[in-house]
Symmetry: C2
DNA sequence: CTGAAAGCGCTTACAG
DNA sequence: CTGAAAGCGCTTACAG
């Protein structure tokens, strides 16, 4: 490997001078010297050894990406296309900005602390942590962090890049309502965090024209497939009556859709269904799933650029920025009162 | 941050001794000293600064994962569930073995060289490179590398972890043949690399009982969706006649299946369809896709452990190890002559 | 059994 | 405008 010293020797100058032109401390170096060194640097394809760089006062330029999800729906977190797109986009963007991405498994907090300190990362982008887990981590590790899609119990006390779940829920609710489904149900695996916001948006939309949308229209289902399906069986008569189901995830929506289809129930003729996320398979299933789309690459961009600003010492005012969201109408809802556009 | 020196001070010994116990050069250190230092290390949660470690003779313990795919089907490479599962599994396993994963975009070879040298990575796992691109890279970068799913023009001259495409093709062909579809077509976007092997396996299976499977039964379709779909339209009469189509990817299989479904053609009643890969959405579509499954996490394991062995100086005899593959029968093939199991 | 010292490849305040 | 020197946090041959 070729070192600074080697370059200096070739140029007939000192390491100091070479280092100065590399780092742009170029004010006090003659143009001639600059040109000569630059040429050699290029010709030799010199790259500094990051170990030395780290050791001599400069940052590591490593961004840790912490993937803290527990296996969602039994798959590897990175298998989820949302996570994949997010991480991939972060890595692309980091690369053009001259940063490096280190992947860190997030389950074990001590591990995260360990790796982040070892490598002196400049910041962490964290997926799949809740506020409590973040709190534990931040007690042990003093680094800049931005979380993705995390809901705190109270006010935001950390940097978050989220998504406008409330609005997404509202848009779904409003759409269903406008199609005449004013008794539609909302189905989720929990009643907290994003599920809660989505439900609240949905509820709000359903309460147009002075109507009331009671809590009984939020159906919580198990995170175990078998139990979920069983619940759908039990609830089938109610489903058939209300005629429309808004799911809080594409995954569950598609699962349910297939479950109904397999029993000979016509979707959307007998039951209209919506999802949430616009995952990659929303368009692959038939009928194509009507769902809520978010701009994942924008989210990646927001997360990284905000983290970098924090790392540069900037104090960000907003604690929680939200990526916008929009309904994408496909085929899983029967639009009774509404012409297709 | 707490340094070796600090630990040494607390223990009342020299840095050397502390370093010795950390690195297990423990033969010439008294048990008493070992215990004392170990306790302090633990209590202080000491972790070494990797910059120093790298600089003083030890390896970086960084494995670079190069994602060199061009956007497959218009998505981010990491969005592909295969890539996601692979990378995720590699990262998990690396972490338990005390290695770190750096994500590297592979499009620009110079970039890969740059990052790998800067960080003095101990090895590279490379996805989505062909033999030519590997050749270019290896000319500029002297590191241990293992590729994933790469086919060389001739003999293997690099370490590869692949999949038994030939066998997969054979299994599909044999299954279809046994169901009576002895005129089935094979559909792929290229006629090289894995597509070629799959086709050859398929062909071989179709040539049972002295039959002949001509090259005309390999249908090459465009990588542009519009053109693909147009081709399916043109070929529809032939499809209906041969009654079975084996696609070289789940993605194309599902797209085609939906295309037919949208035209009112019954799948599998009128056309049986198979995919390849067993992606996450193979089970989400209706009918569920019959396809070929490979053990992705085993592949991740093979890639990493072989790379580590190479990094440790071992000469691996096998240049190309293949992960096994098996058919998974679902619902997209009508089993005329065969009872469902 | 333990420690002083050299060295890894850089950067940066400082002197000239 | 340029360079000698100190220093970053570790490891390791070597001396005692």
């Amino acid at each position: 490997m070729i070192r600074l010293q080697d370059i200096a020797d070739m140029a007939g100058v000192s390491r100091t001078t070479v280092s100065n032109v590399i780092n742009g401390n170029t004010k006090r170096v003659s143009q001639e010297t600059i040109d000569k060194i630059t040429a050699i640097l290029k010709e030799q394809n010199y790259v500094p050894h990051m170990g030395s760089v780290m050791l001599s006062g400069h940052g590591s330029r490593i961004i840790g990406v912490v993937v803290g999800f527990n296996q969602a729906h039994g798959m590897q977190p990175l298998q989820d296309s949302f996570v994949g797109e997010l991480v991939g986009t972060i890595q692309n963007e980091a690369e053009v900005k001259g940063y490096y991405i280190m992947l860190i498994g997030g389950e074990n907090i001590q591990h995260v602390v360990d790796i982040a300190s070892r490598w002196n990362v400049e910041g962490l982008i964290i997926l799949g942590y809740n506020d409590e887990k973040y709190r534990q981590l931040s007690r042990k590790l003093n680094k800049k962090m931005v979380l993705i899609d995390t809901y705190p119990a109270g006010e935001y006390f950390f940097q978050n890049v989220g998504v406008d779940d409330y609005s997404g829920g509202y848009q779904i609710g409003n759409y269903l309502y406008s199609c005449g489904y004013d008794k539609a149900l909302f189905i989720a695996e929990t009643d907290i965090d994003s599920d809660y916001s989505r439900w609240m948006g949905f509820k709000q939309a359903m309460e147009q024209d002075g109507k009331f949308c009671s809590r009984t229209r939020l159906v919580i289902v198990s995170y175990e497939k078998k139990k979920r399906l069983q619940k759908y069986s039990e609830l089938l008569p109610r489903f058939l009556e209300v005629k429309a189901l808004a799911f809080s995830s594409d995954y569950d929506a598609i699962e349910a859709m297939n479950f109904f289809l397999d029993q000979g129930i016509k979707i959307p003729d007998q039951i209209s269904i919506t999802g949430y996320d616009d995952s990659i398979y929303a368009q692959m299933v038939r009928p194509k799933l009507t769902t809520v789309h978010q701009d994942v690459s924008q989210k990646a961009h927001l997360a990284l650029s905000r983290l970098l600003r924090m790392a540069a010492g900037e104090q960000l005012k907003e604690m929680n920025v939200k990526s916008p969201v929009h309904l994408v109408r496909r085929e899983s809802v029967k639009e009774k009162n509404r012409p297709l556009i």
